[in-house]
Symmetry: C2
Subunit: 166 residues, 2 copies
């Protein structure tokens, strides 16, 4: 299985649990993503409580699939230790690694955006009592896919240019 | 080989070339990363010309290793088609996929940041004649590693929290 080409966003899940060892692998993959100047400022909130999932769904319109799954992980970055403006880039690399790690272990996943949506970010930061310097970046929803749709081929040679844009 | 845990930033390279099929795999992996609202606005400039590498090294202090390698790829995003403020997040996911794809194929790689450094971004955008709406995001340098340093274990259980920050 080629996890890079076969990862896809999954929006329908079964209620089957994520194994503890797989959860740890997903978190280890997240921590193994690069950060600018190696500041390693990202942290990960593991959220399994269904009441909390309901509260997230109330403030995050695009994260309704959290109501079906046993697990979501909130990715946050520390504005005090991130280098320059790189907080979202670092957190995005960690998020992508989590999606790929979930794929590698046979789970589906989806990246629900938070950062860049100020209202949504504030609501999530309040819900989890994040300190001022800790910024909510993304919510990664993980579980067993309810359907077996194959991934799309996303090869687009027209997106490649050689040597210069012109 | 576990590409998620074994990817690392490589800063010393041999001059050995990157095979065309491996380059295409790396670009396919980049295109397979998710984008917010599936806008797929990222493009990729393949840069092999050594004179251009020298010009990049003049304006990008942290990209000096480009002078050793046969290949660099400039990742750019289209501000006109990216959704909301998600351009850097989308380009970061594509960049991370490229680093992982290079690792999978036995190459070293390093992510040289551009976006968030306004002066550097302007210089690169000018060098490659990027239109106003096309934003330089990162430069991915790829080649055969000159040393065989093992990757670090980056597991940090203190970065994990459960259910809430408090």
């Amino acid at each position: 299985m080629d996890i890079l080409l076969e990862r896809k966003s999954v929006r329908k899940y079964t209620s089957e649990d994520v194994k503890q060892e797989d959860l740890e692998y997903i978190l280890h993959a997240a921590m193994s993503a690069p950060t600018a100047r190696n500041t390693r400022h990202c942290s990960f909130l593991v959220i399994k409580d269904k009441e909390t999932h309901k509260k997230i769904a109330e403030v995050h319109q695009a994260a309704q699939m959290i109501l079906q799954t046993p697990l979501a992980i909130l990715v946050v970055g520390d504005q005090n230790t991130a280098y320059g403006g790189y907080l979202p880039q670092d957190c995005a690399a960690a998020t992508e690694n989590m999606l790929l790690a979930a794929t590698a272990k046979g789970y589906g996943s989806v990246w629900c955006g938070i950062y860049s949506n100020e209202e949504r970010a504030k609501a999530i930061e309040k819900l989890f009592y994040l300190p001022e310097n800790i910024k909510a970046f993304s919510l990664v929803v993980i579980g067993k896919p309810a359907d077996k749709n194959p991934p799309r081929n996303r090869w687009q040679p027209e997106k490649i240019k050689y040597e210069t844009w012109k």
